[in-house]
Symmetry: D2
Subunit: 343 residues, 4 copies
Amino acid sequence: MQHTEFASDNTAGICPEAMEALLAANSGHMASYGNDDWTRRACDAIRATFETDCEVFFVFNGTAANSLALASLCQSYHSIVCHKLAHVETDECGGPEFFSNGTKLLLAGGADGKLDMRGVEKLISARSDIHYPKPRAVTITQSTEVGTVYSLEEVRALGEGCREHDLAFHMDGARFANAVASLGVSPADITWRAGVDVLSFGGTKMGMPVGEAVVFFDHDMAKDFAYRCKQAGQLASKMRFLSAPWVGMLAENAWLTRAAHANAMARRLGNALARLPGIAPLFPVQSNAVFVSMPQHAADALKEKGWAFYSFIGAGGARFVCSWATQPEQVDALVADVKACLA
Amino acid sequence: MQHTEFASDNTAGICPEAMEALLAANSGHMASYGNDDWTRRACDAIRATFETDCEVFFVFNGTAANSLALASLCQSYHSIVCHKLAHVETDECGGPEFFSNGTKLLLAGGADGKLDMRGVEKLISARSDIHYPKPRAVTITQSTEVGTVYSLEEVRALGEGCREHDLAFHMDGARFANAVASLGVSPADITWRAGVDVLSFGGTKMGMPVGEAVVFFDHDMAKDFAYRCKQAGQLASKMRFLSAPWVGMLAENAWLTRAAHANAMARRLGNALARLPGIAPLFPVQSNAVFVSMPQHAADALKEKGWAFYSFIGAGGARFVCSWATQPEQVDALVADVKACLA
Amino acid sequence: MQHTEFASDNTAGICPEAMEALLAANSGHMASYGNDDWTRRACDAIRATFETDCEVFFVFNGTAANSLALASLCQSYHSIVCHKLAHVETDECGGPEFFSNGTKLLLAGGADGKLDMRGVEKLISARSDIHYPKPRAVTITQSTEVGTVYSLEEVRALGEGCREHDLAFHMDGARFANAVASLGVSPADITWRAGVDVLSFGGTKMGMPVGEAVVFFDHDMAKDFAYRCKQAGQLASKMRFLSAPWVGMLAENAWLTRAAHANAMARRLGNALARLPGIAPLFPVQSNAVFVSMPQHAADALKEKGWAFYSFIGAGGARFVCSWATQPEQVDALVADVKACLA
Amino acid sequence: MQHTEFASDNTAGICPEAMEALLAANSGHMASYGNDDWTRRACDAIRATFETDCEVFFVFNGTAANSLALASLCQSYHSIVCHKLAHVETDECGGPEFFSNGTKLLLAGGADGKLDMRGVEKLISARSDIHYPKPRAVTITQSTEVGTVYSLEEVRALGEGCREHDLAFHMDGARFANAVASLGVSPADITWRAGVDVLSFGGTKMGMPVGEAVVFFDHDMAKDFAYRCKQAGQLASKMRFLSAPWVGMLAENAWLTRAAHANAMARRLGNALARLPGIAPLFPVQSNAVFVSMPQHAADALKEKGWAFYSFIGAGGARFVCSWATQPEQVDALVADVKACLA
């Protein structure tokens, strides 16, 4: 039997608040393509969450949210700066290049999976001739692919740098909830007030069955974006089933409560693993993911016990991800098995 | 208050069999991206339904299903023959052109919204020089955009013609269930045995919250299609919520029972309307949609009463669509209001 | 032996003024990619010709000029209105759709191969929902594919209509020289002063070996167009050989003298053919092309005599095109052969 | 005054043999789009050169040749392995990504600007899941961007590796002539007999005004490539002016004689520079380019003297390129100025 509890936060099911709204939305006939009350309420809830009159579009998944957002910022001959570990580079099978018809990703390093302005500037100043794509946007992931979180100051510094260099600023927030819960900041402060132009606001990983929101803080940038979504196969006909879960999750801050739980489970796991001999943390545990290295034999043994996890960054590296659904007993069971495997 | 009951079959909610499976699937952690049991079962159910070892991919909506299927058959310099009323031409905002990076649609006429080989041949023989896109595929919609259904003979004739001219044959089956229920044929007979290479098998309109299946009857044509879906933002991470409803709907032929009900409601509506003076049927009612013309004042009055419906094909044209959720009382209420508006 | 003299104006060779400049440019080493004196002079000559500080880009052929210009005006989910006989629709193998990643062409009719605002408005007002591409540009061909010419008033009316509807206005000027020579207007009057935003200014058909100019009258629209050309394989390294012929042709209005000659040859041909029994003109001869209908047996016989010409618009239709290189004797020889074939 | 003699081999003009053929081709009317005798002869000459019945297509420039060839081998969700210094990566502004609608380039290192199978295998084995583009082709540049040349053994090893891993093998031969002249091998041996599937055979840098040939050694791979060229704006109407120079250059091996001269000039320059104190060769001089490092002050002084050259690979790096047109006196003048600048 396979234990998929920590393989990713998308192995979890639908969060109760999301499910409740989904069931409530399944009542009678309703206008399609987003012209329904649930979608209006979901957009309003997002606007309230960000304390601004932003433009909101619901799409099916994170690859689409990121790729469409970036395509709307760029032409095919432009380039986008991202971290070399960014999801848009490593896990979307060339989605950004496809949706933008060829935009190139420029890859920067940066400690703890985070981009900084020095790395951005190095890349965008390397070339200024027409034989190489012209830099047009920067994208960061919040929280990052290695479970770290950009501080308010870090986001602001990137926001200022983008303005200075006339670059659009996109945030891949597949795990935005975990970041906000971790930082204890307001969603507005960590996005548009810090210079973010567009946010991919992740719904799936925070507990929905399907769906992300693309949030434009700049109305001009959102021009004709509804056409872009439609053409790209990202306009749901029964939109209420994408939007209603947002109403459920954003009400009474359920999204942050659930994310805080996932973060707490990750800290519990991270702390317990760190105490085991032979285990070394690879990144600080700042959101809902734990990255450690362990002896290769232990990693192998753990897989043989049925634990599914993602291995990378060298031999023995392991990623464990917690979610709204993670239970303390599951954490403890994993820790016990790691301990046994180390022996 | 708006009456959206007949505006489209996508104004209906989730069908009980689909919902039951969705709820059952929401249990515990499960491998993501389709490596779960529900997805395996759904694929098997589709293979059993078509009595063949077809390749199955679940995507989010119909535009994506059609566009990805067609893009996999064509290069950018190819063309695709479709009816001028086809959804791929009139209602996907250039989706096929986008996903294929420029493939041109060649538009044929044809009675009752149906393509025939004479129309196809006229288009594909008009040009054979490299200054015009090369014909590569034919796509038909079953049931059609005007509620008619291709007979077994009609599909076979097109299948043979496609083989003869080395054209791939795609079927847009957004309402495939309604067609099969109407014809009383086996799904295998009306698709691969009649020469269809790829089917977009519609799930949303038959009662699911979201999701369609792309079914390849030719394994070679399906090569690398999983990569295509992933890159194009059409791979669900929590795939079980797309696939489980298929398990529910295909079990005990619920999909056909539900589609037969929708068809029956359309017949009830069509028959009742046809008896009203001033109403003229525009197309035979062969599936779940009814097209009639009525005096413009009546159409206006009906809209003022809150009835949402799609108007086209000249002044006074009206489309009414039934679904699994349509109730006889709703049909009767609409008929009564039409009658009142005609007065 | 084949007589290709009237098959097209691109069967002619290089015009003396273009050749002279080409030879003069072949002297020593020179900066590449357009950073040379010939290119600077060519751009200046075009600016002088249009009496304005336009932006000029040299590309290799007409498909590229049109497709890149249109792609710079549109996004993939937009549409472009053109005449159903427009070169972009009938003879560029889907180039506009490819370069724009899916933009749809909306086809209008219109007498004498010419678009009018009524036709444009009918198309752009047919749909306004996001399920169909959004109109964004209008393109006309001057002179047209059937040898007619838009009058100053006609271009102005379209220009005004475009402004009114917020549509960009492109002119495919593959045979712009013939149109200007025919109308006797200033290039400025018939383009930017009449509302044209971008012109594909044809070089090949007017006597160059290769190359067209894309002329932007609006600087903002030209933003980053150099990158677009480079990425799309349309930046010549030895640019001087594309640009020098422009210097030669524009000097002392050689381009107009040569075009006037081609137009005169077409009139000579048109007049002579019109006098033959059985020949009927299909379009007024306003530039360098003659369209007539003749009995099918005569057309067949003419082809057997080795005359190459393009047949279309029904049985017996024939297009004969004159160029800078057409000689009166060649016209007379063709007329004599047509006469013989009619017998 | 600027000295552009060594800035690139595309600062040279048209080589006498190419010019002679161009002038000869400018005689009378001729069928367009490649249906002329010069084009037939040019194709035959290329087939004779490669001793095989290859498929030949003439396009306008190197970016187009490479991008179209690669696009024909790949789908958008594929990846292509190239050296990190490859022209397709560093100097085509995302052309390969654009023409292929998003194919990703995977960048390998490798000594002397050359790819080896170890580097290829490391990249293609790093990922095998659908979340990352699937490797589909390898492209090498012969001669390389740093003036080195792949030996027969090196090309064969890559060819075998490609076969083994089911990868298509493309050669960017913008300076193929220089490589063949340097190696003294037969064009057939160093291409298709060594496993190369498609060659971009450079014409411009070897002395033509414009134009490259795409040579497919595998007929199946060339299927519909003419349509691809046409749609992408790469089909010349007056094709004879692109093809005739090939007839001139390939006759009596002029292309190799001219390339050998360029190589000899580079050796003369390389040897002379190597003798100067403070100058260090950066790469072996194996074709027509010389790469050296010199003190930054010397490089600055040389630029102030008007010498144009490309600087890269660290401070003081300089590239000097020779061509068919380079004269010994020019080489000596450059060497003298470098010497003076070093002082």
